[in-house]
Symmetry: C3
Subunit: 156 residues, 3 copies
């Protein structure tokens, strides 16, 4: 029995959703490292949340943009930095999804090289909105041996 158009469309939609989520997360680093605070904040929903392990928790787009405009992030950019996010594993569930993966912030040092300044676990909570997939919450924790990071990486 050949597949139906409807069945193919549903399978295609699932791949498109995963691709859109991958794209959303892949765009975080370039926005952060160019200091594009407003554009970056719009990866999140209006009331989205970003918990930065060991540092702070920002609620809402204005607070998220303020992280990028803040002294800590601007200091990183002045030194030279890369917010390098790796591939994610994605659990898609209709109009919401969860993605888990690693991020490494490399910072240029005085030797002409770079050091891994932050190595973190990330759990992204995502939702389909009229504007496309957006982040409802990003939970981040340093992989320093503490339980917090492991909790973010664990399967649901």
């Amino acid at each position: 029995m050949p597949p139906t158009l409807e069945a193919l469309a549903a399978r295609l939609q699932a791949l498109e959703d995963r691709e859109a989520i991958r794209e959303l997360i892949a765009s975080y680093g370039p926005l952060a490292d160019t200091g594009a605070a407003d554009a970056l904040s719009q990866l999140w929903t209006e009331d989205g949340r970003y918990a930065v392990g060991g540092m702070t928790e920002a609620k809402g787009r204005a607070a998220i943009a303020a992280l990028i405009d803040g002294a800590v992030h601007r200091g990183l950019m002045a030194d030279g930095c890369a917010h390098a996010l790796g591939p994610v594993t994605i659990d898609l569930d209709g109009d919401t999804a969860t993605a888990r993966g690693y991020s490494v912030v490399f910072r240029a040092d005085s030797t002409g090289g770079w050091t891994a300044h932050r190595v973190s676990a990330n759990r992204w909570h995502l939702a389909r909105t009229p504007e496309g997939w957006r982040v409802t919450a990003r939970e981040n924790a340093l992989l320093d041996g503490a339980e917090a990071a492991r909790a973010l990486l664990a399967a649901a």
Copy 2:
């Protein structure tokens, strides 16, 4: 001439296969770094093989799980570690596939930062099974200048 349903379904299946393989490999790190030994071992087929460059070779799920439960890996987890696997290049060939890529194990050090403890080449041998794509063998070798790692990265 418009495409046929059957032709579209075959193209879709190829993309789904690649996505499933990408997902399988992306789930390795989170399972390793949460110490989920049994779940991690089930990424492999029952008689799967995992050759860890410079360390050991595990055959079968129980032996693979034992790596994660072992002292070396538990020591890494206690210090704080990330098994950060990068994107892979995938050669799909019907019901089997090969994927090649890099892995970096970051380890928290005493300075509050992280060091690249292992930087390796990986060659994944994969098979479609009734339970989905599984690893039949992962070959890993340190990128320390020796030929072994280059052999794993070379195209088939």
Copy 3:
């Protein structure tokens, strides 16, 4: 109203294009780290360009191959190196595309570990050719705090 075959085919094509671009970029590292100069140069179009931040600019496949056969690259390979390229964000526009992402060159050092020797921004310009997607230009710049790298990461 059910989707048409033509509409599904177009959506599928867009995903296939993105997958082909991802695959092209993911194959750079393994070709570089195995010293496969000719095969690597064929990721580019015949007159493709590769600007390596802080080093040189190569135009055409022969010049790109020469980078891989050159003393600097061969020295890296002898020490042990990984050209680890992360996920990219892809802007697809018909028969051309742009992709942006990070690359890290890890180099084995004398301590038995690896250092992040180069951490760079990359902007890939791509074109659909009769042989598939190829790189028309790769622009690379070190993330050392200078504006050049930020310009490559900025959205179009």
